[in-house]
Every structure is written in structure tokens, then in C-alpha cells.
């Protein structure tokens, strides 16, 4: 029996030294035994490597940034859809999720299926909301406090022990050992990202991650824990290994059950020497290292596509421990003719 053919649109083709999840997701889909995936790559920038990976991306289109408005993005998607009849769309970048979630119903009406978290799930897991999130769902999170002025710095030692992490509301984090350093980082961060600046308890331990998939009804369809073995100077994983860690899986299940999480997610935790786990970040999408989970036996991208299409998916029960990924770079060869076609026609 021949496999069902599906047209799947994927973003996040920026497989650079700070990779987006697009290409790893595509690798999972291409290995599906349930369907034959034709990949329509959606790229924001003209040098996203995925555009030029002809063995993985069957057709690539440029799309406008979410910052130019959902109306423009949807118009472009309608154009592409008219030619490619997209079955499923998987957005993979943080900055675009809000816009796709807002447009999910419209996409569904067009016949494009997605499997995304709800806006409420998306909003409540923001970094600045972490303490209340931890309280609401009974998850251990580092103590943190949002401050909006220098006055609060002097009294930080009442609530925190130095060192503390000083974090921006979107990006940036610095470790500060005394109030003077906090003040310095506060200035630096508030100038760039505005207030509040978040002061967070520094938890000493090992950073561990889980990639997971929730079905939106409280069931955990997939969950694979991993520890980064080496980190690049950009703070990205260079290599990682799957772990046998029942507690991490249990924590993930608890969170998914309580939040009824829908779609892919990545949990970032710190495991302390006395075996305590602190949740430090919840990313509302599949991470770039998802192919490790596929290799370990849980094809998360495939399962997500099936759920987007309303198919019944049984939860994965096992994965192989000790599977490793080692990231490497590779020089693709392109030609100015390809660049021209992409620049003029917006597709390749």
C-alpha cells in the first residue's frame, strides 16, 4: 500500500550555528512510515540554509515577517496554499507563534491544519510570569522578582542570596555577585529591553531539557529528556545525550496534565546536586534538538502532524537511552542563479 501524501509547510529553516528547529523537524517527517511528506519550506530570510537543501525541502517560499502584520502574512500564505494545497503547517520560531496562533482558525478554514498551544497557555508561561506559573501548577521554580527601578536593588539581599541572575524580559541573562553588579546589569538590560528586569535566584546544578508533545486533553504523547554535553559560545547545544530520568518524565507529565498543553514544547530545568528540579523556562514549540528524540524512538514531528489531522495517536512508551547528537556544520553550494530566482520571485 502506498503511503498517504501530505504537503507540509515548515518554518525555521535557519539551520545556522544557532539553528531553528525546521530542518530537524523535516528530517523526522521524511522518515515517517505513515505518510510521504512533501515539504514546503517557508523562509523569512534569503540565506536560510533550508531553502537550498533540495533533498529535504521540496519547494521554498519567502514569507513576510510577522512584524509586517498578520494580514500580509496570511495573504502570502493564501497565495502559496493556492499552489501547494498545504495540509499541515508547523511554525517553529518563537517570534512568529503569536501570529500563527491568532490566525489558526482562519488557517483551519482554508484547510491548513496546525497543532498549536492556546493563547492562554502561550501567555501564562512567559518568563516574567514564572513564579505565579510555578505556584499555580505546583512546580518548583527559582525565586524571582520583577524590578522596575534601582531602589529595589539595595534590599535584594533580604530575599535572595548572591549570586543572582539578572534577566531581561525577552532575552539576556547575567550572573551578578553583588548589588553593584546588579545595578550595572540592570542599566544594561533595561536600556535594551525596558523594564521590568527580572532578578532570579541562581540555582546551581546541571541544565537538563525535555522535548515533549501534549495532545491538548492532558495526555503526554511524547517526552524525551536530554542533557547538553557541550555548549557553544552562543550558549547553544553542541552535543547532547538522552537520559533515563523518571523524575523529569514525571514532571513533564504533571505539567502537561495540568495545563492540558497542546502541541510541542521544550522544558528547561536545572537539576541540583540533591536531585531537585527547578523549571527555568518553558518554550512553546519543538526545539532544534528534536531529531535526537526521533532517533531515540519518538518521532515527535510525525505524531504532531497526525494530531493536526485529527488522527488518533498512541502515546510513546519508550525511548532509547544513551543516544547522542553531535552538531556539525556543512558548506552547501549554491549559485547566484538560485539567489536571483529567490530574490525576484520569492520562491525556489
Amino acid at each position: 500500500m502506498s503511503k498517504r501524501k501530505l504537503n507540509i509547510a515548515i518554518t525555521g529553516l535557519n539551520n545556522t550555528d544557532n539553528p531553528g528547529p525546521g530542518i530537524p523537524v523535516i528530517r523526522g517527517l521524511k522518515e515517517s512510515e505513515a505518510f510521504e511528506a512533501r515539504i514546503i519550506g517557508l523562509a523569512y530570510e534569503n540565506l536560510e540554509p533550508g531553502i537550498y537543501m533540495k533533498d529535504l525541502v521540496d519547494k521554498a517560499y519567502q514569507i513576510p515577517y510577522p512584524s509586517s502584520g498578520s494580514q500580509n502574512l496570511m495573504q502570502r500564505l493564501e497565495q502559496i496554499h493556492a499552489r501547494e494545497s498545504i495540509d499541515v503547517l508547523i511554525p517553529n520560531l518563537d517570534a512568529e507563534l503569536y501570529t500563527f496562533m491568532m490566525s489558526a482558525r482562519k488557517l483551519e478554514e482554508m484547510g491548513i491544519h496546525t497543532f498549536l498551544p492556546t493563547l492562554e497557555q502561550f501567555e501564562e508561561r512567559h518568563k516574567a510570569n514564572l513564579p505565579s506559573y510555578g505556584e499555580k501548577y505546583g512546580i518548583r521554580v527559582p525565586a524571582s522578582m520583577a524590578i522596575i527601578g534601582h531602589e529595589a536593588i539595595a534590599s535584594l539581599s533580604d530575599e535572595f542570596e548572591y549570586p543572582v541572575l539578572v534577566k531581561g524580559k525577552f532575552y539576556d541573562a547575567y550572573l551578578a555577585y553583588n548589588p553593584e553588579q546588579v545595578a550595572m546589569y540592570y542599566n544594561k538590560i533595561s536600556a535594551k529591553w525596558g523594564v521590568p528586569v527580572i532578578i532570579q535566584e541562581f540555582i546551581k546544578g546541571t541544565e537538563v531539557n525535555v522535548v515533549a508533545l501534549g495532545d491538548g486533553k492532558g495526555n503526554t504523547i511524547a517526552a524525551v529528556p536530554m542533557r547538553k554535553q557541550y555548549i557553544t559560545d552562543k550558549g547553544k547545544a553542541w552535543s547532547g545525550i538522552t537520559l533515563a530520568d523518571g523524575q523529569m518524565i514525571e514532571l513533564t507529565r504533571q505539567l502537561i496534565t495540568q495545563t492540558r498543553w497542546r502541541g510541542g514544547m521544550e522544558l528547561e530545568m536545572i537539576k541540583t546536586s540533591d536531585e531537585k528540579y527547578y523549571m527555568i523556562e518553558i518554550n512553546p514549540r519543538i526545539p532544534a534538538w528534536v531529531y535526537l528524540a526521533v532517533a531515540a524512538g519518538q518521532n515527535i514531528p510525525e505524531a504532531l502532524v497526525k494530531m493536526a489531522l485529527g488522527m488518533d495517536v498512541q502515546p510513546f512508551s519508550t525511548y532509547q537511552v544513551g543516544k547522542m547528537f553531535i552538531r556539525y556544520s556543512y558548506d552547501l553550494i549554491g549559485d547566484i542563479k538560485q539567489f536571483e530566482k529567490l530574490s525576484i520571485q520569492g520562491e525556489l
Binding site: E45, L47, Q62, P64, P66, S70, N72, Y98, I344, G346
Partner: protein, 454 residues
Amino acid sequence: METRKSTFERPVINRVNAGLPDKFGMHSKLRSMPEIDSIPVESLIGLYGSPLFVLSEKTIRETMSDAKRAFTTRYPKVQFAWSYKTNYLDAVCRVFHQEGSWAEVVSGFEYEKAVANGVEGQFILFNGPGKTTEDIDRAITQGSMIHLDHFDELFLVMGCAERLGKRAKVALRINMDTGIYPRWDRFGFNYENGEAWQAVNKILPDSRLELVGLHTHIGTYILSTNAYAVATTKLAELTVRIQRKFNHTIKYIDLGGGFASRNTLKGAYLPGTDTCPSFDNYAEAITASLVNSEIQHDKMPMLILETGRALIDDAGCLLGTVLANKRLVDGRLSMILDIGVNMLFTSFWYEHAVVPSKETSDYTENTTIYGPLCMNIDVIRDAVQFPVLERGDHVVVNRVGAYNMTQWLQFITYRPNVVMIGMKGDVDVIRKAENYSSLSMHEHIPDHLIHFRL
């Protein structure tokens, strides 16, 4: 045989920036805006000059009825009060009063305006930290609601009431932590540190004052509907506490304004058209918190809303004309308009949606849009992909209905005409353009300065 010549389009060459998006990325085509309420931009400018503020009565009424529907379908007692400072042109105020809005004023001048517009004192809410003794006397005499901002004012009102021998109707302005920044703790009495409760305990036993309402105004351009839910819950808790201790029923809870409009704030990643909550979103957060509160069912207060920006921003456009195109030293294009920051005050914090009035080509250039003032700060848009227009072409700046027609400055040039397009498409000048005499009439030249020789 005569061959038809092609239409000319300015030659454009754009560098393809490796890594950056081009044609299908950031350069999304700007939709032109050839008419407002079916009246061509060209003819409006032809008749009333350029620049020109245009207000659409239709858009005001439609927006207002959308807001009313969102709240009244969820809560039985809803009252809007038009925020005068957002746009106090009389014609605009009267549209809102016809729609049933009370007046919310923050100065003696605005109070006079509301009275002149025919609003009776009992329908005026008097806010703000700077009321004078005369202001307070008038408000007490005419039975307006005085929203107290600080203890000095509380004592002042007590004194005025006593002197006039008339009970003053007051409400407490309360500031609080609703989880958003910045926290507006400069206005009103603080909730968390007990200052508000202290004020309540001062007012209620005092026979000179009648506490009719509780008021908060949590900030401006608030995208988080949850902040309103928190604010409503806190005011409801205070209402219950007052009922319990003093057996006094609060007549209204006033959530102020602060609803965002669809303009995009500078520095925001996503455009306002995508992130601005709907009236339904705000209404759900506020009314659900009221309905679910501990307030006794038969003592549910009236809900007052002082929404300004979200009700009027979309209804205003500013039309203008291209004065020149100029190539800057670094190769960027600059376009000079006859619209300056003196009349478009909001360009200091918004990335205003400037669009051409007529259809243009797909080719855009990275353009800086300047105003006509001889001042370096006169920038309307810093870097925007814009089609190349010629001198004399027209542009439309969208969503300028809020604050521009009150915060505008008479600086370097005169302020232009403001017209309103009525429900039937009739156009009225609702504020005449200034001229030399409208400005010189307030000046006086001392005798010894009259003559000079050059």
C-alpha cells in the same frame, strides 16, 4: 500610427541584502487610501487645504456601538464617560454625548467646555491632580462627581463643602499593582499600602462628603486584559469592605481608560493591528471580575468606563502633501511632508501608518519621512519602506483621532482645518485653520517697541 507610451515610474534599484528579507519579507506593499467614507482624498484637500485633519462620524459611532455592545451584553449597568482630553473638539464631544456618554474632565477649562456642550453637572466626572478651589466650588455647586487624587485635595473639598453648605459627591481615585509596568502610583491613593482604606475611613464618617464611587486608571495603552481583571477585583473587594464596615453602598466603579488602539508603539515587534485586544476581550475581563466578586447581587455598582483612545483613534486621519524628495548622504531617501510633529504629536511614540492616497508600484525604498519644520526632531517615520512619491502627491496618516487635536502645538506654522464627515457624507469644518490674526490677537506690543529702522 501612434504607439501608446508607457506610464513612467521612478527608477529604483534596491540592494539585495544577504540575510535580510527583501521583496517578500519586509517590503510588503502598502495599501493606498484614495478615499475616506467614500470622499476622495484629493477633493478633501482641494476644498479644505493641506494638511487636513479628517474625522469620520460614522467610524466614531460604529466604534462606540461596538464598545457599548461588548459591555452591555455582559453587565447590566454600564456608563461611558467621554474623556475630554483625548479629543475635546466640540463636535466630537457632542457625537459622544449623543451616544449617551457622560463627560470626564481634568481641568476647569474642560469643565467649562462640557458645560458649554450642554452636559449637566451631575453627568460630569472631575478627575486630575490639579483642581483649583474655584473648580471644586463649581463642581460641588453643580453636583458633579469629584474624583479625589490626594489628601490635600480631600481636605480642600471638605472645606469647600462646608463653606458652600452643600454635600460634595466624591469618588476615590486608587492606584494599585495590577502586574503591569509602569505602575501609575502618582495618581490617587495607593491600594496595597492601605492609603486608600485610610481615605475611605476619613470620608465615610464625614457628613460633608458622600462617597459615590471608586475609580482607578491603571495606565495607558494597556495590552493586558488581565490587568483590568486584577484592578476590577481589587475595587470590588474594597466595595465589599466598605459595605461591611460602614453599611454604605458604592454607586459606581470607574475603571478609567487605557484601552489600547490599533496603532503600533515604537519598539513593538508586532503591529498594533495584531496585538490590540478587542472591546470584547476587555469587557470579558472586567465584567467577569465584577460578576464573580463578593458584591451583593442587589448592590451591584454601575460600571463606568472613560475609554478615550480606543474610541476615537481610528476615526481620525491626517491628510498631507509631499513637498520634496531628497537623497541623504548615505544614499537613503528622505521625503518631506507638510505634516510636522507639531500637529502629529503622537509620532513621538507611534510608528504611524502613513500610506499614499493613490495606487503606487510595488517598488519601495527605505525612506525617512520628515515634517516641514526647521527642527531636527521633526521626524514622522524614521525608516519605512515606502513607494517613491512625487512632489504634490498626497499621503494619509491613519489613526490620529486621539490626543493629536488636543496636544498639538502652535509651533512655526498654523494649525490646519479639521473637518468631520457626517453620517450622510456631508463635510463640515469643525475647527477652522488658524491664521495670523487668530494668533496675534493675544499679543501686545509696548509703545516703545512699535517703531524701528533697519
